[in-house]
């Protein structure tokens, strides 16, 4: 895949009339996404009147949090023009390590170990992509396989200690306090603010965009691209590790394939959120709303009692539909 800015096809003729709209959409992709989210919530309310209330909001946030954190990993690397297909394996790994080590090492140490392991995987990805210039897609598929394989081996070795999710994690990501406020919000909100501000204001955040937008220009401007990429992949894996812990907290259990079903949704959430898969354009706001949209969509399909195949097809159609609408409106591909 090459960057396709200025692609070969003809420029659509109507661009002048919707030009202002386009700019607004490009700057604020969040607005139409919020509208879509509202439509889905309204549909849900219509299908099952009375379902949308405080409890439901809390549950939705609880279930959306792991996906939103995974989408953060994906956002960071996708802004550089890459992709991280090892996030699901890393998330499962950190959840499983934390759950198996907590009884012998204590909760804090177990969580630290889990995150260290995640960072180590990110370092491997980063060395491959940043220093060796391996295509991110294939590098992260390979490392993902290594991690999955490692987990299989580790599972056999750690069979003595049963996997039990640390109390802290269960309470933090699975519980609620003050009535109906999900505890995960207290972890997620600061994290999201740091990522949002970091991407917008911090020097490193801007470097991610610079590298993704035009690597040659960034290099000529003196950016050490390998350092930016290395750090991006380490951060991505660390966030995936946190997402894994969150997931085990919500599910109150940890298996070695815990996060596997979340791999493609993490990419989908970012894409729906308007971050370009070629890098350089997008942000985390869209990814958060994307994760919420996918979560609400799943609960809508569950309420509709749609059979699994139909659910899957609607899921795919929504991803394609939103991406196509976004491309049409902004005139970018």
């Amino acid at each position: 895949m090459s960057a396709e800015h200025g692609s070969a096809g003809p420029v659509s003729t109507g661009w002048l009339s919707i030009g202002p709209w386009r700019n607004r959409l490009r700057d604020q992709p969040a607005i139409p996404l919020l509208v879509l989210l509202a439509v889905l919530v309204a549909l849900l309310q219509l299908v099952q009147p009375g379902i949308v209330k405080a409890d439901w909001v809390a549950t939705t946030i609880k279930f959306a949090t792991p996906l939103a954190i995974l989408a953060a990993s994906q956002t960071l690397v996708m802004l550089t023009g890459g992709i991280d297909l090892s996030v699901a394996s890393v998330a499962s790994m950190s959840a499983y390590i934390a759950a198996t080590q907590s009884s012998s090492q204590g909760d804090a140490m177990a969580i630290l170990l889990a995150l260290l392991a995640a960072a180590a995987v990110g370092l491997m990805n980063g060395v491959g992509v940043g220093l060796f210039r391996v295509q991110p897609l294939i590098m992260t598929i390979g490392i993902g396989l290594v991690v999955t394989g490692f987990l299989t081996v580790y599972q056999v070795l750690a069979v003595a200690s049963a996997a039990s999710v640390p109390e802290v994690i269960g309470g933090l990501f699975g519980g609620t306090s003050l009535g109906a406020i999900p505890n995960s919000l207290f972890v997620f909100a600061p994290l999201a603010v740091i990522i949002l501000l970091g991407l917008r204001r911090a020097g490193y955040g801007r470097l991610l965009y610079a590298v993704g937008d035009n690597q040659v220009a960034a290099r000529l401007a003196g950016v050490r691209i390998w350092q930016v990429l290395l750090v991006a992949y380490v951060l991505s894996s660390l966030l995936a590790g946190v997402a894994g812990l969150a997931l085990s907290g919500v599910a109150r259990s940890a298996t070695i394939a815990l996060a596997e079903p979340y791999l493609l949704p993490s990419v989908a959430a970012v894409v729906i959120g308007g971050t370009s898969i070629f890098g350089g354009r997008g942000g985390y706001t869209g990814s958060i709303i994307g994760a919420l949209i996918l979560t609400v969509l799943v609960s809508l399909l569950t309420v509709l009692e749609a059979p699994q195949p139909v659910r899957q097809m609607i899921y795919g159609a929504i991803i394609l539909g939103v991406a196509a609408a976004y491309t049409r409106l902004t005139g970018e591909s």
Binding site: E4, F132, L137, I319, S333
Partner: protein, 323 residues
Amino acid sequence: MIASETLAGRLGGSLRRGGWTLALYVILAGLIAFTSVLQPRYGLDTLAIAALPLALAAAAQAVVVISGGIDLSVGSMMALTNVTAAVLMKDAGTETAVAVIVGVLLLGLAIGALNGLLVVTTRVPDIVVTLAMLYIWGGVALLVLGSPGGGAPGWVKDLVKGGFVVDALPRALVLLLVIIGSVWLPVRRSQLGLSLYAIGSDRLAAFRSGVAVERTKLASYALCGLFSAAGGLALTATTGIGTPTVGAYTLAGVAAIVLGGVSLAGGRGGILGPIGAAYVLTIIRADLVFLGVDPNYSTMIQGGIMVLVVMLAAFLTLRRVRR
């Protein structure tokens, strides 16, 4: 430039281009020899049967990646064609089964073309469109067949079993060569083949040279669908049933083409390399079992080998670029 016009120069050029593929086949030959010492009962036919679906998945992916795209829905398309064939062929007579095989291949061509049409008309990046189609075709496969079932007539299963004319020549290998030879060779030699490489290597330059970029792109996805359908049929023949959730073939296919020397950036590589890589990946899996390696380690070792090889390849490319 002038030097490369001479015969020796041309030979050198094609050797350099084909060097990776050649090395891959040397490694494969070494692994086959190694395996025959390790476990004499593991014949070439076992390898050819086990590698057939992956080899076709790799061929499918290779066509799209060479023309600058990527198709994440290969695994789903294989699942869909696999179950369709298994459902329709169960207890069917010979004529019906032949009709089903032709029909399923056409189905593959059609769903692949639909992927391509969506990529071209929506102008959404290939990876996103095919990610969505991965869900959609997977859903359709589950609608066709809810849980593993169906069947295939004996002669279809025999198509991939045993030797062709002589025992040393596995039928599954012959079948693979026939499929590739009858589809890819004519395409490669036609204008379409040139256009596929052209749009993969530089879309804008191809457009300005008068290549019908969008039509070529659509054709690449249609061919991908056709090979995926062949892969689905291969699954029906080798397993004898239909399984609606074929998991790993998309990513394994991507791994095989990269190991096979196809650049994910497009425009470079062939189809023999990926097929060789599919065989190498399959035989490594078998060897690990014969070596008595704890099966739990095999995924880790395979992933490790893959990472090391792509890093080595990237390292060599980097050195060439810097020089």
